[in-house]
Symmetry: C2
Subunit: 358 residues, 2 copies
DNA sequence: TTGTAAGCGTTATCAA
DNA sequence: TTGATAACGCTTACAA
């Protein structure tokens, strides 16, 4: 055998071809090549055009976005800041946004806050430095100044799920009030009367505030329809399982003869309630009715199936990116607010069964 | 009131300060400012240094990474390509990687393949164009050429979970063989004898191949220990629930008097098995033992609790990014292979109970 | 120690 | 229609 025993990869093409090299190869000026690329309308001599075309192909040339960004000020980059990539909702947004961006020829720069809202301004600074053309923000919105800065720099911003107080920006979110109404109505119809709204610590997060407020108001509005209806709210902190257990126990106590039901305000909380139920030895439907925000792939398989309010997450992500891209294309409108409806998926956790039945 | 009823935000600082402006402000040359920033060791006259420092602060100057990248060739960007952001495993990698990158002062550019492996080379091209300094790849690895190209361009690459055939690159992954051994041993000890390994379509994906191969070999190796042990494998395709149901039914048939058990090769498959069980009306432990790859937050709450093999996902992500960053710092070693052990979390799905008991 | 000037890969202005 | 040439914001020889 004449082949060397160790296969070396073919010589490294090393660096990308530049416009200058293409120009040389085609025997034209850099400007001509640039024009061929950017101003297809202004026609070059067909003969020259083909020469350029061939040279480009031969050298496998593609322009450097970095250099373009430097020159044009536009980078074809979009900054995405998420509070917590671990959150399934954020991932859904990410997915939708990434897709829309790809289609529009944008690339996503990702910054994860790891739930540390103090890093929000750091994120925006870093991303701004890279000349991202706009932001998609799914953050706590506590450090509103940072985002406002971005907007002030003239970069379009779209907020997803969480509003920033006082900020002029497109906003894409679930119709929280409507969704809560859906959930409460469902529990009500199923016969649950003593309700508890369980949320992560509200602390200024707009979506949590909206959902809680909606809960209170729906409870009030339903007084006529169901005079024996009563509602409370509880903020569940990570790690404080005792607190949640206690809240659930007193919920049942308050219920007296009535059926106790819980609305959990997102998948994280739902899981906490599920864990609490396991600790308490209670069964969904029977000892406690449940409707949870966010439909997850595992919802149907917990106990008798968890009744959930599904968010159109994909759509939300796509719309967010879509909004942003429209702005980048020059759309100049006052800030829009896009609210999408949730969909209630009824499953076993919200159908009462005789507590002692098997 | 003298204030206008409509609050306009304070005048827009518009564009970022440039090095030239800082130089002007400080009364020095651009070079001096640049040196102040980059070569802290070479000392400037203290007096000048402070002048520069003040000017920088006054203008809130920070250098443009774009311009730096253009000049230096280094961009402080890392490209992350994932097959599917929806996959919890990918998200974990993402999270770990993002964290490590942030700490090292790198930003992540994300490209999601949406499980379309044909886009792999597109992703790498796009990212390369932006001068990313290296790649973290968690892809199917079918289009190995694309990644190889990147490596050939001299960019370090680290592969996570999935090897690319024939590629010289750092590789970070679960110790698949060990994990399978763990799972089979556990089922064996629990008394299950007729086993089925259920995987997503193998089709050349290295981690799937390794797990399946390990399963076959462990079955073979255990013949002495458990002569009545028998094993089969099944590839479950998305949407084909009938196929899976059928496979499970024949598994039980083959089992005769022996206990039938399943090893599912990742969380996606586990969920499919869970769904199938629900359709068949079977209970974990009783009609079927289960050990599933990937521990998820919901695993403990499905049926009697799902026994899982937890991957150190966070660690994997961190290590992947860590490897890459070491290379970027100049580490020159032959490709490393880092294998981390899985951890078996025993729960109810792998403890047999009398099939007819309640 | 500091400044001048060239150049990274583009695009845009202005002549030709 | 095409080609020089000057930016874009930065780093880095080379001079001073």
């Amino acid at each position: 055998m004449s082949a060397s025993p160790i296969k070396r990869l073919p010589a490294l093409p090393a660096k990308r071809a530049t416009i200058a090299e293409v120009a040389l190869e085609a025997g034209v000026s850099k400007a001509t090549v640039s024009r061929f690329l950017n101003h297809r309308e202004r026609l070059l001599t067909p003969e020259i055009a083909t020469r350029v075309e061939i040279a480009i192909a031969a050298l496998a040339y593609s322009p450097s976005p970095m250099a373009q960004a430097l020159k044009r000020g536009r980078s074809r980059l979009i900054g995405l800041v998420v509070a917590d990539v671990t959150n399934p909702f954020s991932v859904a947004v990410l997915r939708g946004a990434e897709k829309a961006c790809q289609q529009a020829g944008y690339l996503l720069m990702l910054f994860n806050l790891g739930n540390d809202s103090r890093r929000e301004s750091e994120a925006i600074k870093a991303l701004t430095a890279y000349q991202v053309e706009g932001f998609i923000l799914n953050t706590l919105g506590r450090d509103a100044g940072a985002a406002a800065d971005a907007a002030r720099h003239g970069k379009p911003v779209v907020l997803v799920d969480r509003r920033h107080h006082d900020m002029q920006a497109d906003f894409v979110s679930l119709d929280n009030a409507g969704a809560v109404r859906l959930g409460v109505a469902h529990l009500l119809k199923a016969g649950y009367r003593e309700l508890l709204f369980v949320s992560e610590p509200i602390s200024g997060v707009s979506s949590r505030m909206e959902r809680e407020a909606a809960f209170r108001s729906v409870i009030g509005d339903s007084a006529a329809e169901a005079p024996d209806l009563h509602g409370n709210t509880f903020e569940s902190t990570e790690g404080d399982s005792d607190g949640l257990d206690q809240a659930l126990r007193s919920l049942r106590q308050r219920a007296q003869g009535r059926l106790p039901g819980v609305i959990s305000s997102n998948a994280v909380v739902t899981l906490r309630v599920v864990a609490a139920m396991a600790r308490l030895g209670w069964r969904f439907g029977a000892e406690l009715g449940l409707v949870g925000f966010d439909d997850t792939e595992w919802s149907p398989y917990i106990g008798p199936g968890l009744t959930t309010i599904a968010q159109p997450t994909d759509e939300l992500g796509r719309l967010a990116a879509g909004c942003l891209i429209e702005r980048l294309k020059g759309l100049d409108l006052p800030p829009r607010q896009i609210l999408l409806s949730g969909r209630l998926l009824a499953r076993g956790s919200s159908v009462p069964v005789a507590p002692e039945a098997n």
